[in-house]
Symmetry: C2
Subunit: 277 residues, 2 copies
């Protein structure tokens, strides 16, 4: 492993993207914490990281559309997929304070996903939105004399030297975030692989409805597992169409040849092993 063999992710150390990196690669993989999603793509393009791991959708909140735009425009390709079960933990500096927690900090989405637990177990705590789950754990760690708690990933506890009081405090246990692993696109183009999952993006022709291109895959019995549309800026109600396709990579390749005639531009984003929940 060279110094560049590290994994870029967006967020603070201990963020859910960091946890996804630890589970997909290994717990001791070197990482690069980035401020913005675009920084993680840039780190890979500039060879400052060998891979990045980026969230593309959550099973409760939906798609993270910014990362679709970045996948289309960047010089990277998708080499893997990982669905992380989002398990929220209550994190404190002193495990004796349970009933006396005065403030609970976390990202608004995490707070919204733990309302049942907060109501039952922390009835007297003030609920305070914070920019980041791992950042909230860090805030609690820095104020050990306060009776504060954070809601964050289990991984944040050892990083900030705080304790997990309770794990799995989310309302819906079936909460997953799907991550994609990206790498730098080699000069020779996409590496040749024959996995069963392929992601593509193409530009809808102005005159056609979306059914024209979608029909190519349905008539070839290729499973479409996800459709995401993003605007073609300057062409109202015309889209870049992102598809996740499941089926023999040979048949998918044949479909893409037909797509070449039916769409204005296309790009294969990657061919990789699907990760089943």
């Amino acid at each position: 492993m060279t110094t560049n063999d590290r994994i870029a992710f967006q967020g603070e150390l201990g963020a859910y993207s960091h946890l996804a990196a630890a589970e997909y690669f290994s717990a001791d993989s070197p990482v690069l914490a980035c401020t913005e999603f675009s920084d993680t793509f840039k780190a890979v393009e500039d060879s400052k990281a060998s891979h990045a791991i980026i969230p593309v959708e959550n099973s409760v909140a939906g798609s993270i559309v910014e990362n679709y735009d970045l996948l289309r425009t960047s010089g990277t390709y998708i080499s893997g997929e990982y669905s992380l079960r989002i398990q929220h933990s209550l994190i404190v500096t002193n495990t004796n304070i349970t009933d006396e927690v005065t403030k609970v900090y976390s990202h608004p989405q995490a707070l919204a996903q733990c309302t049942d637990f907060i109501e039952e177990s922390l009835p007297n705590a003030e609920v305070i939105p914070y920019y980041d789950t791992a950042g909230a754990a860090q805030l609690v760690a820095r104020n050990p004399n306060e009776k504060w708690a954070a809601i964050a990933s289990e991984l944040a506890a050892p990083i900030y030297d705080v304790k997990v009081l309770k794990n799995g405090i989310e309302n819906h246990p079936n909460n997953y975030t799907r991550f994609l692993v990206i790498q730098k696109l080699p000069n020779g183009g996409l590496p040749s692989t024959t996995y069963d999952k392929t992601s593509i993006v193409y530009k809808q022709k102005n005159s056609d409805g979306l059914q024209k291109t979608l029909a190519i895959f349905s008539s070839n019995e290729i499973n479409i597992s996800k459709v995401e549309l993003r605007p073609q800026v300057g062409e109202p109600w015309r889209y870049w169409v992102f598809l996740d396709l499941e089926g023999s990579s040979e048949v998918v390749t044949e479909c893409i040849e037909q797509l070449n005639l039916a769409a204005n531009e296309y790009k294969i984003l990657g061919n990789y092993q699907a990760h089943q929940v």
Copy 2:
């Protein structure tokens, strides 16, 4: 017109949704300004407003997914569509201050859409994000002795008694927001109409890829103009599928009968006149 014949929208008076209401209905239509999108749906369900007008997508930023969820769960139906050209105006209290503007306030998206103008014409102004475009106009109006400006819709100027210094200051002139007009669903169900545009939502069957249901429309030569997926909460990577369909309402009805067998649940959201940009 009774007192209930009014149009609910989300935002302050003079917001772009208010402008859409004025253009779709008439400039003197009574309106009800609501804080949240869900409040506009509730106003219609509770007969506090006869209609609501809600944004569903912008041609630069993409979909407003919250309104898709509300369309599915509310007791309303879609009766119309309107694409509003988003033209930003520079709004001031004193038209002599052009070069001396010290602060410019607006919603972050509006500021991001006017960067070229701000750089060229307001090089010395501090750019300050504000929660709402019309709210920014109101703030400027309340501080007539400051050399402040707001970026907002033209409509905000007469409402807050401020002046438009320049109109059409956005970087991309082809910036549109598509609105839907909703009404309360009568007890008898959806009114029968035969317009060429129909919106539906259905629940994907667990075992099937998306191509199974999409193929019904492509094989019947119905145009699919928009696909939007929203999560089925508790079923990771299974979706509620929202489709906008264009074609004879008779053929669409036949397709929906076939859909009845291929999808788990469906709801016709409305049949209405398409509005071409």
